[in-house]
């Protein structure tokens, strides 16, 4: 169906795909709730290794926030039909996203050098598990950005409702993994 017909018969209310994405986010939140609750329980039970988070985790936090901002501005660029802003910032967001995952890896290396083993104490196990599970969800977001880039660079630049909706799906998920990381970082800082 072409965009004109889509426009005419657009459903009232929210787009079902977007709603489905939110439900997906809800289930991801529940999975992390499972882990953070287990974390709290084990922390309270004692035998918990105390350690500070590696500095790389703070740097990566800045990176993923910048990536979110870049993707958002790219979206604004798309809506205002500024092709260069849209494409350029999309690539920037992608690069920053990949950088985030690399920095997380560096963070794990730092953590290991600090003497926090993956197996030795459950505190370390939880830190690796939670950050790694988050990184996997970021990789999912990176895959979505790659699809968005393929659209951006292979399709003729044109503003359509359908493409805007698709972009919004990517954008919302990307903001979601960003906020999820900030939450997890604050959580780990506060339950030390």
């Amino acid at each position: 169906m072409d965009s004109v017909a889509m426009e005419e018969t657009k459903r009232k209310g929210i787009n079902p795909h977007k709603f489905a994405l939110w439900l997906g986010m809800g289930s991801i939140i529940m999975m992390f709730t499972g882990w953070t609750s287990a974390y709290i329980v084990k922390h309270a039970a004692g035998n918990w290794l105390e350690f500070g988070l590696p500095s790389m985790f703070y740097a990566s936090t800045v990176t993923i926030i910048l990536s979110s901002v870049a993707l958002h501005l790219s979206y604004v660029g798309y809506k205002k039909q500024r092709e260069l802003m849209y494409k350029g910032l999309l690539v920037l967001a992608f690069i920053l996203g990949v950088t985030f995952v690399v920095m997380q890896y560096q963070g794990w290396m730092q953590l290991f050098d600090m003497g926090v083993d993956f197996k030795a104490n459950v505190a370390g196990s939880f830190t690796y598990l939670i950050t790694a599970a988050h990184a996997v969800h970021v990789l999912g977001g990176i895959a979505a950005i790659i699809v968005a880039m393929i659209h951006a660079f292979t399709l003729k630049f044109r503003y359509t409702e359908k493409r805007k909706n698709r972009f919004e799906l990517v954008l919302q998920y990307w903001h979601f993994v960003d906020l999820l990381w900030i939450y997890l970082l604050l959580f780990m800082l506060n339950t030390k």
Partner: protein, 614 residues
């Protein structure tokens, strides 16, 4: 317009009052139906996917039930030779020099474990809510398909893949997982703990992780469809109770299954990567395990945070189906429609705050147990509301005692019998005596096993014409019903007594327990009943498959004189459900015997002066 209300024609009404939304328009248009593969195998049509779920569920049910027959033989007739099972079970039947064949104990545990896993997840979750959510949500809401037909297809194929992996694990030389369907560590966490804990458990975990993906993809789709794709006029308060049930079920699933996944990932790390989330202070193979600091109770919390909502994921769809069938075949509006909805939502909410009643004897703090006792007992309130409303729906009705109706009434009977014993078990003090006995087995089999099956059977017999445009044989259906209800009570009623005497579940044999000797007769009785019920189910299977091709043909669109939208679609199902416009809805789903009219379809506009809804 004025005469429409008295004599009306569905097609005309839909044509004149309907509308079209273009949400499901395809680029490829009608080519969709052309290919065999795209139509029957990788189908994106919700009606085909529903039948895929159903038939896969039936196959799993036969496998799971056959397993129960084998372990019932061991429990009922421990002295008899099982050598005749050797061709099927191979090395798991050990034949001694005198020719007596006995079931290998480790395989007995594997059978019990697989029976639970298969029935709970593959049959009563995927086979029940997968089938009917798929079939009825778009049809009863007036949608052309699910919000995302593609994710819907993936949902089935993830389930299929999970099934293939679990099926494969049955044939491992070390056998499938054998540590109970709840997969508690350390049996599930240490590959060396038992024969089934190695590859069997690995495949169990992989299979169920894929199953979680399937449930999430399905559930997200169901919720989105219910909230976004209802036809014009179909307000939430006009939805049939089936839809409310599937909707609540899907919400529970989307919120609880991810927590199971998080527990599974930790278990995988304990198994493969050497962490100690759930392991501590264990001696195995003669030496101390080098893991410290873990807690098996932590796993139990994560497991039962899904595990308890899971039983409502199983029973709520059955409740929805039964509510609808009772109302249609009693020719009466459902009694207390809103109370039914609120009680379902209440059950859904409470299901999340009662999980530790499965763990009263696991070493959780008894003061915390009190909290869980209170909320567990409160579930009796919405459950009783529902039972009361079902019975009052029947009262004074113009009842058609056909097979779907019989199974619905059977459901109510089972739900009462099994529910009452739940009140006992919900008390942490009584649980000291009852936990892990056959009393528990009897309770949950009746209330969520047999009852859920009855809801499923009611749904299958009732909506069979909608699935295959034919009817199932009524006589065979009635034989199936009476055989099943009498047989199921014969199996599970005696178990209450055995359980009250303290006989523990999951035991391979009671040879060394003098106190339980006098139950051998009762165990034989149960086993004989179980075998008979198994063969009665085969009558259903034959009826089901025979009727697909040879059943009595459906000649009218609305054979039950029902009000809901699925009965306004053509007899031969089409992709997109309605050939032209989508129907618009003008009233609630339960206008039976209203103002001298036998029934009024939801698509009929209100007459002048008529008071709508309820």
């Amino acid at each position: 317009m004025a005469n429409i209300a008295t004599t009306y024609d569905d097609d005309l009404l839909i044509k004149e009052l309907g509308y079209n939304d273009h949400f499901h328009d395809h680029h490829h248009g009608d080519k969709y139906q052309s290919g065999f593969i795209s139509h029957y195998i990788f189908s994106m049509d919700h009606k085909v996917i529903a039948r895929q779920f159903l038939i896969t569920g039936i196959i799993w049910a036969i496998i799971g039930a056959a397993m129960s027959v084998v372990f019932r033989l061991q429990l009922g007739f421990p002295e008899e030779s099982l050598a005749w099972l050797k061709p099927v079970l191979g090395k798991w039947i050990v034949i001694d020099p005198t020719g007596i064949g006995t079931l290998a104990p480790e395989f007995y545990y594997a059978l019990v474990t697989m029976h639970g896993t298969i029935l709970v997840f593959f049959v009563l979750t995927a086979g029940l809510s997968g089938t009917f959510s798929n079939l009825l949500i778009p049809l009863q809401l007036g949608a052309r398909d699910m919000a995302s037909p593609f994710l819907n297809m993936l949902s089935y194929w993830f389930f299929f893949l999970a099934g293939i992996i679990m099926f494969y694990s049955l044939f491992l030389s070390t056998g499938p997982f054998s540590g109970g369907w709840t997969a508690y560590p350390p049996l599930s966490a240490l590959p060396q703990a038992s024969t089934g804990s190695g590859t069997g458990m690995t495949l169990w975990l992989v299979s169920l992780t894929l199953f979680v993906v399937s449930v999430l993809l399905g559930g997200i789709n169901y919720i989105t469809t219910v909230l976004n794709l209802r036809t014009k006029g179909m307000s939430l308060w006009r939805m049939p109770l089936t839809i409310w049930a599937f909707f609540t079920t899907a919400i529970i699933g989307v919120l609880s299954f991810p927590v199971l996944a998080s527990g599974f990932f930790m278990l995988m790390m304990d198994r493969g990567l050497g962490t100690s989330f759930f392991l501590s202070e264990i001696f195995i193979e003669g030496q101390a395990l080098d893991r410290v600091g873990g807690s098996p109770v932590l796993y139990q919390h994560l497991f039962w945070f899904l595990g308890h909502p899971e039983v409502y994921i199983i029973i709520l769809p059955a409740m929805g189906l039964v509510s609808e069938v009772l109302s249609v075949h009693a020719r009466k509006p459902i009694f207390g429609y809103r109370a039914m909805v609120y009680s379902m939502l209440a059950i859904g909410f409470l299901s999340f705050i009662v999980w530790a009643h499965h763990m009263f004897m696991s070493g959780v703090n008894p003061f915390i147990s009190n909290f869980f006792v209170v909320f567990t007992l409160i579930i009796a309130v919405p459950s009783a509301v529902k039972v009361f409303n079902w019975i009052t729906t029947l009262y004074g009705g113009n009842i058609r005692l056909n097979t779907p109706m019989l199974f619905s009434i059977g459901f109510v009977s089972m739900f009462i019998s099994g529910g009452l014993t739940g009140v006992f078990l919900g008390n942490s003090t009584i649980d000291i005596q009852m936990h892990d006995t056959y009393f528990v087995v009897a309770h949950f089999h009746i209330v969520m096993g047999v009852a859920a099956f009855f809801g499923m059977f009611a749904g299958i017999y009732h909506w069979y014409p909608k699935m295959y445009s034919r009817f199932m044989n009524e006589t065979l259906g009635k034989i199936h019903f009476w055989g099943t209800i009498i047989g199921a009570y014969a199996i599970f009623w005696p178990m209450h007594f055995i359980g009250m005497a303290g006989v523990p579940r999951r035991y391979y044999s009671f040879d060394t327990f003098d106190a339980f000797k006098h139950f051998s007769g009762m165990n034989q009785f149960i086993t004989i009943a179980a075998i008979l019920v198994f063969f009665v189910q085969l009558i259903f299977v034959i009826n089901f498959f025979y009727s697909i091709w040879k059943g009595k043909k459906m000649t009218t669109k609305n054979p039950w004189d029902a009000t809901t939208l699925e009965w306004t679609t053509p007899i031969e199902p089409i992709h997109g459900n309605w050939p032209g416009n989508l129907p618009t809805v003008h009233r609630w789903a339960y206008d039976y015997n209203k103002d001298e009219r036998e029934f009024v379809s939801q698509i009929v506009p209100l007459e002048e002066g008529e008071i709508g809804d309820h």
